[in-house]
């Protein structure tokens, strides 16, 4: 079985997010980027399936800053192959990214495409269902439980309040992964370095992306501070509030 996992870098939300001069997007120049945490879950789930039986896990990413490091880290964690798509916009929104990935993945013979359910900047859609439409594959998102048997994935889709629905999905399929069955593994730097010496990343040209559904970002801004929170500066002040509210 072949499992393809698209990986994408997103801004680390702990940092201050600077906007570009036009106020229509982020200024990526000084941003600290990291692997989208839900992509990490998708990769972990793929590796779990591999370790529970047999599967080839292929990590795919659009070329960009630090993408090699991200792909070598995926290899260090246990992916069998890493593919880098060149000549595409690494900061593209999901409608465009889905076109680029569909081009690249359609020839790979994937049985399962595991995608992080969401990424921090999702504005124009979720990658998994859009990608699935372009690949003409069935899809279920917000999945926390996944089991593959004889060409069928049995998945648990989360609703609210802890309620889930179970679906059988005929493979090949695109699944939007919410959480892997265990916390994503960590690859020590030494192992990533070692892989960097021994493995290589395959390159693939993006090719013609075709028609992309677009929408225009007119403005991006930081939320205006509603002046909401009264800032407290000591434990005594918290205790005062608790007394005022009749909690203690």
């Amino acid at each position: 079985m072949k499992i393809v996992v698209p990986l994408k870098q997103v801004p680390d939300l702990v940092e201050d997010l600077e906007l570009n001069d036009e106020g229509t997007g982020l200024d990526y120049e000084y941003l600290k980027m990291k692997l989208n945490e839900w992509d990490d879950h998708a990769l972990e789930e793929a590796l779990q399936i591999k370790e529970g039986g047999s599967a080839e896990v292929i990590a795919v990413a659009v070329d960009g800053e630090d993408v090699d490091k991200m792909l070598y880290t995926a290899l260090a964690k246990g992916a069998d192959k890493a593919v880098k798509i060149t000549g595409a916009n690494p900061y593209a929104d999901n409608q465009e990214l889905a076109r680029v990935l569909a081009n690249a993945i359609s020839g790979m013979g994937a049985d399962l495409v595991l995608v992080g359910v969401q990424s921090a900047g999702d504005r124009d859609g979720w990658l998994a269902p859009i990608l699935a439409t372009h690949l003409n594959m069935p899809t279920v998102s917000v999945v926390t439980g996944l089991e593959v048997n004889d060409g069928t994935a049995t998945v648990h889709k989360e609703y609210s309040g802890g309620i889930m629905a179970e679906f059988d999905v005929a493979l090949p399929a695109v699944i939007g992964v919410q959480a892997a069955r265990q916390t994503p593994r960590y690859a020590p730097v030494s192992k990533v370095r070692q892989i960097q010496q021994s493995a290589s990343i395959e390159e693939m040209a993006a090719g013609d992306v075709g028609d992309v559904v677009t929408s225009t970002v007119e403005e991006m801004r930081h939320p205006e501070k509603s002046g909401g929170a009264r800032i407290l500066s000591s434990v005594d002040e918290i205790v005062e509030v608790l007394k005022e509210k009749g909690v203690v």
């Binding site: 859609g125 859009i130 802890g162 679906f167 059988d168 991006m220 909401g228 800032i231």
Partner: protein
């Protein structure tokens, strides 16, 4: 000006609150409101605030494949200017499939929608740290709206509007609904507690949850948590607050090391009093909190517990 098509979301035969929120929001925009329902006919009597309902017999239970195909057929039938779905697990799936299949522009994570020739949506992105205004053109287009972005009462009205039926289109039959799985019963019901001490990733390790438990004990509170704490297996799912967890409305919600991502806020923003302790002064949790302290939670919580004893 075309119609606004609202996806009526339902689970277990009951309409979701978001349906009424969206109908109310759509009516405010001034267009004629058409609701799409894929489930049982029984629910239509609650959709009186819509001017028309289009029903497809897509099965009693949501299935992304059948409901996705049904929505495309309904969109073809109605030819709307805007399609509104909830930003929920079901709604997001439908909004994305419709956008991709019809090549209609889409905005997700929306908290506001306006129409002034062009359709515009405001979305909360990057964990709530950025607000984006998207211009979707004059339509047709699709917007997935975050739950709780509009009052439900405005769109809640009994009465059976005119109903049209659209035939269920053929599908490839690749996705099969099996069953609903209900949550296991919980040791503590966080939705009934007056005070919650909620922890997020800032707590750092499982062992440190003890610090929050001691504070909770001093306040006769329960410990709740954000999603990463549950995904790590540190607390049971019944303690999760947010979009895919529980909605809570305690008298007091103390958020420790929680950034305040929109998915978390969905579950707790209506708490009477919110106190947030976070080391990042820009954490979005401070935008909904009534009281905030920019500090390392470990420098505060133990001292607070002692002060209460």
């Amino acid at each position: 000006m075309g119609d606004i098509l609202v996806v009526a979301e339902h689970l277990n035969g009951a309409l979701d609150e978001s349906t009424f929120e969206l109908i109310g929001m759509a009516n405010d925009l001034g267009n004629s409101v058409v609701a799409f329902i894929g489930g049982s006919d029984d629910m239509i009597g609650q959709l009186g605030a819509a001017s028309k309902v289009v029903r497809v017999d897509a099965g009693a239970d949501f299935n992304p494949e059948t409901y996705g195909a049904a929505l495309v057929a309904v969109a073809d039938h109605v030819n709307p200017q805007v399609v509104l779905t909830s930003g929920s697990s079901m709604g997001m799936e439908l909004a994305n499939m419709l956008s991709a299949q019809k090549s209609w522009p889409l905005a997700v994570a929306a908290t506001k929608v306006s129409i002034d020739g062009d359709v515009k949506a405001e979305s909360a992105l990057f964990g709530g740290k950025i607000i984006a205004t998207t211009n979707l053109g004059s339509g047709p287009c699709v917007v997935a709206v975050v739950a709780g972005s509009a009052p439900a009462d405005a769109g809640r009205k009994d009465g059976r509007p005119a109903v049209e039926s659209v035939d269920m289109p053929a599908t490839a039959g690749k996705v099969t609904f099996k069953k609903l799985i209900m949550p296991e019963s919980a040791d503590v019901d966080i939705t009934t507690k007056d005070v919650l001490v909620a922890i997020g990733r800032g707590i750092g390790s499982k062992d440190d949850i003890e610090v929050a438990e001691e504070l909770a004990e001093a306040l006769d509170a329960a410990v709740a948590a954000s999603r990463p704490i549950i995904d790590a297996g540190w607390l049971p799912k019944s303690r999760q607050v947010g979009k895919s967890g529980l909605k809570v409305k305690p008298k007091l919600y103390i958020a420790l090391g929680i950034s305040g991502a929109p998915e978390h806020l969905e579950g707790m923003k209506n708490s009477s009093t919110i106190i947030a302790i976070n080391s990042d002064k820009n954490a979005p949790i401070f935008d909904v909190a009534h009281y905030g302290m920019v500090a390392d939670l470990f420098d505060v919580v133990e001292e607070l517990t002692e002060a209460l004893d």
